[in-house]
Amino acid sequence: MKIDRLRAFMSRDKDRPRVIVAIDTDDGITGWGECYNHGPDKALFPLLDYLATFIHGKDPRRIEFIVHYLMQQARFPPGALGLAGISAIDQCLWDISAKALGVPVYMLLGGNVRDRVRVYAGVYTAPDPLAARDEFDALNAAWGFTAFKLSPYRIDMHRNRWGEVVRTSAEYFRGLRETVRADYDIAFDAHAKIFEPAQAAQLGNALAPYDPLFFEEPIRPENFEA
């Protein structure tokens, strides 16, 4: 089996672009993958075209080999865009390998430990508690969601004193807990917007008494020591 061509598509989910990749093989199997979209998403297309030149004619089932081969083409660490391209290719290759054998991908990863995977609903904003209650309940009724991820920010972090940002977030979470069903899990994503470790700790401490499921990206991802 050999890789014949790579096709990339720009799609859209509401206001969010989606870059979908297909790899076709010479014996008719197509594998699908997706690039994480973090912008500039249109830059992924020439990047994928470039990566495709290296994998053409290769056996798509040699996944580990191909991923290392692509990594080696980068003189420096490939970074977010390069890895988004390679990730989509990697997914296509697993999809092809599994289709060739007639099994789901997890069967190539050691078999399934569980039969279903719990998911949380990404809300991403910080709706007022009553609106949040309605939204959570609607998501619960429609899909069975019992976990939700929100933004912790209720006021503009750049236009207000930091202490006020923290205080309003804590009050908001307390209000949420008093309003929504007690069995719901609530997570917060600070979106790596905070640069000061002490400020990230303050916000985390303010949310902690009301039991967040998790506190995501409290600090810039480059800052390992923080």
């Binding site: 056996d59 089932r61 040699r62 996944i63 580990e64 080999f65 191909i66 290392h68 390998s97 054998l101 007639g102 099994v103 069967m107 190539l108 990863l109 050691g110 078999g111 399934n112 430990v113 569980r114």
Partner: protein, 407 residues
């Protein structure tokens, strides 16, 4: 598909010819019936399914004891779908957890079972196991042989072997110098110091420094595997390439050694590290630390060798495979087919599953008699003069002026 039965096959395997073996007789020198020397045992596991597919695996890590462990684990596995390998591995680990930390004995039992499960899945899908591990990076695996004399080393070199390992601590620096002189610079040389009880960290540090000029492929197990701080001390003292890991099992057993970067080459044993499932994870942990993997297999039988070939085909950081080229003559009759090396390499098997079966009739001809021995003989000179019968686990070198050559 369901597991219906698990069978075990324990056999007494002969020791390799001492001339061909780096360990100076570490299988013991006792003599058993049928002219067998030493206490090496091989344990094979066969998992039978209701669809007629069977899987074969091998356990090291004290095979004679592990046979009982495999029988005890069987009740957990009969009736289960053999394709959910990771779940079954977790189930076994949870079930034995109450007996204490999982070492090479418990992990050895899980290893043979895990290996057989991968064999079943490969056969069911009609693909070699490497195709379930991310595909093939390489088509053949470089091997190293064992040599303690110039004659053996040259014989291996003439057969195309490009790397050798010697062993023992009686006179390591002069032995390495002799081998380097014999084989020249193009052959890689490693030395196995077999862990304790012959060297303290300070002794090992001096020895490693003395070995630096010979550009070793690695120095293996210089001290006891428990002493990770001792490894740190050796590492700080010497630039030598260090290898270890054959006596630890599972990702948890090797975690500190890898994360603290105490070795350059990690050597989990394919028969007792927890199986193909664990070997793949250990390799990935090592890769993140730029550590290479060279699976231990000095005492292993021929089924685990197949498993090692599949793992080494699929992992990026696979370095080389240990192989006793002139092993006990019964080895070749134990499995079908028996792999032969070519140009210093073994071909990666391409038949479905592991690609190997055991000759059950042949295996049954060699019943196990004993599976423990005091390593090395008094004559090997591994212990300091006159101390062999003390049988201590920790000892420092004596006659240091003689032992550590001056610059």
């Amino acid at each position: 598909m369901k597991i219906t039965a698990i069978k075990t096959f324990l056999m007494h395997a002969g020791a390799p010819n001492l001339k061909a073996w780096a360990a100076d007789g570490s299988f013991g020198t006792q003599v058993f019936s049928k002219n067998l020397t030493g206490t090496r045992n091989w344990l094979f596991v066969k998992i039978v399914t209701d669809e007629g597919i069977t899987g074969i695996g091998e356990c090291s890590g004290w095979p004679r004891v592990i046979e009982t462990a495999v029988r005890d684990l069987t009740g957990l596995l009969v009736g289960e779908d053999p394709t959910h390998i990771e779940r079954l591995w977790q189930k076994m680990q949870i079930a034995m957890m109450g007996h204490g930390m999982t070492g090479v004995v418990g992990a050895g039992a899980m290893t043979g079972i895990d290996m057989a499960l991968w064999d079943i899945k490969g056969k069911a899908l009609g693909v070699p196991v490497w195709n379930l591990l991310g595909g093939k990076i390489r088509d053949r695996i470089r091997i190293y042989g064992h040599a303690n004399s110039a004659e053996t080393a040259l014989s291996l070199k003439q057969r195309g072997i490009t790397a050798i390992k010697c062993g023992g601590v009686s006179d390591p620096v002069r032995k390495v110098a002799m081998l380097r002189e014999a084989v020249g610079d193009e052959v890689d040389i490693a030395i196995d110091l077999h862990g304790p009880p012959w060297l303290t960290p300070a002794d090992a540090a001096q020895l490693c420094r003395a070995l630096e000029p010979y550009r070793m492929m690695w120095v293996e197990d210089p001290i006891a595997p428990e002493n990770l701080d001792g490894f740190r001390r050796i590492r700080d003292a010497s630039s030598i390439t260090l290898a270890a890991g054959e006596r630890q099992a599972t990702i948890f057993g090797l975690r500190d050694m890898i994360e603290r970067e105490l070795v350059d080459v990690v050597q989990p044993d394919t028969g007792r590290a927890g199986g193909i499932t664990q070997m793949k994870k250990i390799a990935a942990m090592a890769e993140a630390h730029h550590i290479m993997m060279a699976p231990h297999s000095g005492s292993l039988g021929p089924v685990a060798e197949y498993a090692a070939l599949h793992v080494l085909a699929a992992i990026p950081n696979g370095l080389i495979l240990e192989r006793i080229e002139d092993d006990w003559e019964g080895r070749a009759q134990t499995v079908i087919p028996h792999p032969r090396s070519r140009d210093g390499h073994l071909d990666v098997p391409n038949a479905p599953g592991l690609g190997v079966e055991i000759d059950e009739e042949f295996v049954a001809r060699w019943p196990s008699e004993m599976n423990v021995s005091v390593p090395v003989s008094e004559a090997a000179g591994s212990y300091a003069d006159g101390t062999f019968h003390e049988h201590v686990y920790v000892q420092t070198r004596r006659k240091r002026g003689l032992y550590f050559p001056k610059d």
